[in-house]
């Protein structure tokens, strides 16, 4: 996907910030649409296809987290949260709710562009097709070729990052994958110290897959080391 065709929706109620991001991303070759409220963002998302969403948390009307959750009901696009809130709890709350990444104000334009590109790269990441393109564990089925996941025949919607993480774990069934390896592999080297991201995404995966009790031990935490996928 070339930058020219990549569509990004930017949501912030501060018009100065909105104008800044729009200009920078346009210079970088992205097609940018802006919205000032959560409601407007949802309407845009329902009307058009986007490849990435940059979302402020403090919005008039429905706030950023609520907007994010709503969008997740029908879209798996990568979402970058942009906010002046700095405490860790807010960051984790946003990541757990739906987001893929988090950029804190004030930010440099280069930092923002780098985060946007990393998120897009993750969402477009395709690993070499494995010899076995399908992993089955209990009632879980992972189809690596068409990137579909089902539990007891019911499709589970995963974001690209969630799918990449699950696929990486499943293809190394029975092996412990270290935190650093997974962060490098899924998020990129610039995220190698962001252990929180890994924990939050594993939790999100578990929450989505743990509809059935037998899946509970499928992604095993090896304390202080990493995670291991166990075929049941």
């Amino acid at each position: 996907m070339s930058p020219k065709t990549t569509r990004i929706l930017v949501v912030d109620d501060d018009v100065e910030i909105l104008r800044l991001i729009r200009r920078v991303l346009e210079i970088e070759g992205f097609h940018v649409i802006t919205a000032e409220t959560g409601e407007a963002a949802i309407q845009e998302m329902e009307r058009e296809q986007f490849d990435l969403l940059v979302l402020d948390l403090m919005l008039p009307g429905i706030d950023g987290i609520t907007t994010c959750r709503h969008i997740r009901n029908f879209s798996t696009l990568p979402i970058i949260i942009l906010t002046a809130k700095t405490n860790v709890e807010e960051k984790v709350k946003a990541l757990e709710a739906c987001a893929d990444d988090y950029v804190t104000k004030p930010f440099s334009t280069q930092e923002l562009v780098a985060r946007v590109r990393a998120a897009l790269r993750r969402s477009q990441m395709t690993f070499p097709a494995p010899s076995s393109s399908q992993v089955v564990s209990g009632k879980l089925e992972i189809n690596c070729l068409d990137r579909r996941v089902t539990v007891a025949g019911e499709e589970i919607k995963l974001t690209p990052t969630e799918f990449n993480l699950l696929q990486e774990l499943a293809l190394h069934n029975g092996k412990v994958l270290t935190h650093t390896y997974l962060l490098n592999r899924i998020w990129g080297s610039e995220y190698r110290d962001e252990l929180r991201y890994l924990h939050v995404f594993v939790n999100r995966l578990r929450n989505k897959l743990m509809l059935h009790e037998e899946n509970q031990r499928m992604i095993e935490n090896i304390s202080g080391v990493g995670y291991r996928f166990n075929i049941l």
Binding site: L20, V24, M58, S108
Partner: protein
């Protein structure tokens, strides 16, 4: 004449003599002599140290005698002698006689029971007697002729029923019975329980568990006595028993330890023990009181400490919230500054000149916003410390309003403004012009934010009751009633409304309040949801010369 006097004297003497004779004759009629048998069985009946009749029975007998006009003569003797005299008619009344059929054949009995008693076996100390069977082969001292010896339920019948063989030593009084045991001549004694209770400590005897022969005690009379005598005795005994304050109950209580209600009178040692218990209980109560006081005091301390801690935690949370909010609010203009600055550096070649200028304008506006926020924080800090200094000078309110509105028009070109001041003008008011402009600008800023769709914002001033009353009115969504009271609180921000975000530190109105009150004025808000809001503040016209000092004094250091 002399003879008449002598005759009169003789007649007088005769009258006195006849009257004396009559009185003497009457006395002899009411004092009926009555011989009463008396034997030694204390405390029921006995002869005291002065030779008088004492014990439970004599006061009862004396009472009946006083009522019936008897003259009592006690005839002393042993129990057997008394019974013999009664049988022979040598005494008229014998008290303390238990009824048996054998005795009924020999004597007449009153119908009213006077007292109920029973008998007990005592053993010499060291002699083990726990039941009737233990009397086997023992020498038992008894009162000769007593019902507890010869009666149908007496000791003789009792041992016979258990086929126990013992030797009875019959004596004339209970005192001798105990003395015989005490001296070792007898192993056991049979006495009435009242005698035993009173005298057991005086002899080397001990109670056994053998209690027997419950007996109702009556007055007994010689066989064939006048029924009137017996009826009168019964009548008086009944009368005595019906009155709980009578001599009968007093005598029962005094000699036999029985209260009028039939309850055993508490012995002195019990009273002392009770007193001790009360003293100890009082001691415990006092200790408990002090302990309770200490607990209460400690509880109060804990409650105060908890309240203090809660207050501290609230303050801490407030401080944390304030820091979080300040951080967030400062970061927003900083984001604009850093964002545009880095864009100018990173994309210099790709930006047009207009874009670069626009970026610098944005940086400038964000810098102003940042300065405004820092000023707000400083004002809050000064108000807290009581350091808000006012430069008081006379100023024209109408001119101040027009100036503020003119600048607001530049900031919000889409918004329409109306100025409403009296045509004749307003008198000058002493004020710190910069600070009152700060108040007006803040109120105008809020009004512009909420004056949706370019609806007019009205700023007015008028004279009222010695004050100049300023107001800023918008036609926005209004403020819910429950929020009206709190909007001047520090860090309080109205719930975000459609199209309007809750941005800012939430300090603007609280600083306005501090500034207006520093001028001795008042500030408040009125609103109807859906129709808009009006913020009103007053500045006093009076005492203009001193207003500077007053303004300083009026600052609340804890605001």
């Amino acid at each position: 004449m002399k003879r008449y006097l002598i005759l009169l004297l003789c007649l007088s003497l005769l009258c006195v003599s006849l009257f004396s004779l009559a009185v003497s004759a009457d006395d002899s009629v009411s004092s009926i002599p009555m011989k009463v048998g008396l034997y030694e069985n204390s405390p029921k009946i006995f002869t005291d140290e002065e030779g008088n009749a004492a014990g439970f029975w004599p006061p009862v007998i004396d009472y009946i005698a006083s009522k019936e006009g008897w003259e009592i003569e006690y005839v002393h003797g042993t129990w057997i002698e008394c019974l013999t005299r009664l049988e022979n008619g040598q005494i008229d009344i014998m008290p303390d006689v238990a009824y048996t059929e054998e005795r009924a054949a020999l004597y007449d009995f009153s119908e009213e029971t006077v007292y109920v008693s029973w008998s007990r076996v005592y053993a010499r100390k060291g002699v083990n007697i726990e039941s009737i069977l233990d009397l086997e082969g023992k020498n038992v001292a008894v009162l000769r002729g007593s019902v507890n010896v010869e009666g149908p339920e007496g000791i003789k019948k009792l041992v016979s029923a258990f086929q126990v063989n013992c030797i009875f030593i019959e004596l004339d009084s209970y005192t001798k019975v105990f003395e015989t045991v005490d001296s070792g001549e007898a192993d056991a004694a049979v006495v009435s329980k009242d005698f035993g209770n009173l005298h057991e400590a005086d002899f080397d005897v001990a109670k056994t568990a053998i209690l027997f022969q419950p007996a109702s005690l009556y007055f007994a009379f010689p066989k064939g006595s006048s029924s009137t005598l017996i009826e009168r005795v019964d009548y008086r005994v009944k009368e005595l028993k019906e009155d709980t304050s009578s001599i009968y109950y007093q005598s029962l209580e005094r000699w036999l330890g029985v209260s009028p209600a039939g309850r055993t009178v508490i012995p002195p040692w019990v009273k002392w023990a009770l007193l001790g218990v009360i003293v100890v209980a009082f001691g415990f109560a006092v200790m408990s009181f002090f302990h309770r006081s200490r607990v209460m005091s400690k509880s109060k301390e804990l409650i105060a400490e908890t309240a203090e801690r809660k207050k501290y935690e609230e303050l801490n949370k407030l401080k944390s919230d304030l820091l979080s909010m300040v951080s967030h609010e400062l970061r927003t203009p900083l984001a604009t500054i850093k964002g545009y600055a880095t864009m100018l550096v990173d994309y210099d070649e790709k930006l047009t000149s207009d874009e670069k200028i626009q970026s610098l304008v944005s940086i400038d506006k964000a810098t102003s916003r940042l300065t405004y926020l820092v000023d707000q924080l400083l004002d809050m800090s000064r108000a807290d410390a009581g350091l808000l200094e006012l430069e008081m000078d006379p100023a024209n309110p109408a001119a101040l309003i027009r100036q503020a509105v003119a600048e607001a028009r530049l900031r919000a070109p889409d918004c329409s403004f109306e100025v409403d001041v009296p045509a004749e003008g307003l008198p000058p008011v002493r004020m710190d012009v910069t600070r009152i402009r700060q108040v007006l600008d803040n109120l105008l800023e809020n009004a512009i934010k909420y004056a949706a769709n370019g609806k007019a914002v009205t700023v007015s001033a008028r004279l009222h009751d010695g004050d100049v009353v300023f107001s800023v009115t918008d036609r926005g969504p209004g403020i819910p009633e429950h929020e009206l009271e709190r909007i001047f609180d520090r860090m309080y921000r109205i719930e975000p409304q459609a199209g309007v975000s809750a941005k800012g530190l939430g300090l603007g109105l609280s600083i306005c309040k501090a500034l207006v009150e520093a001028h001795k004025g008042r500030i408040w808000a009125e609103s109807r949801p859906g129709e808009g809001s009006r913020f009103i503040f007053t500045l006093p016209l009076g005492d203009q010369e001193n207003s500077r000092n007053v303004a300083k004094d009026n600052q609340n250091p804890r605001r």
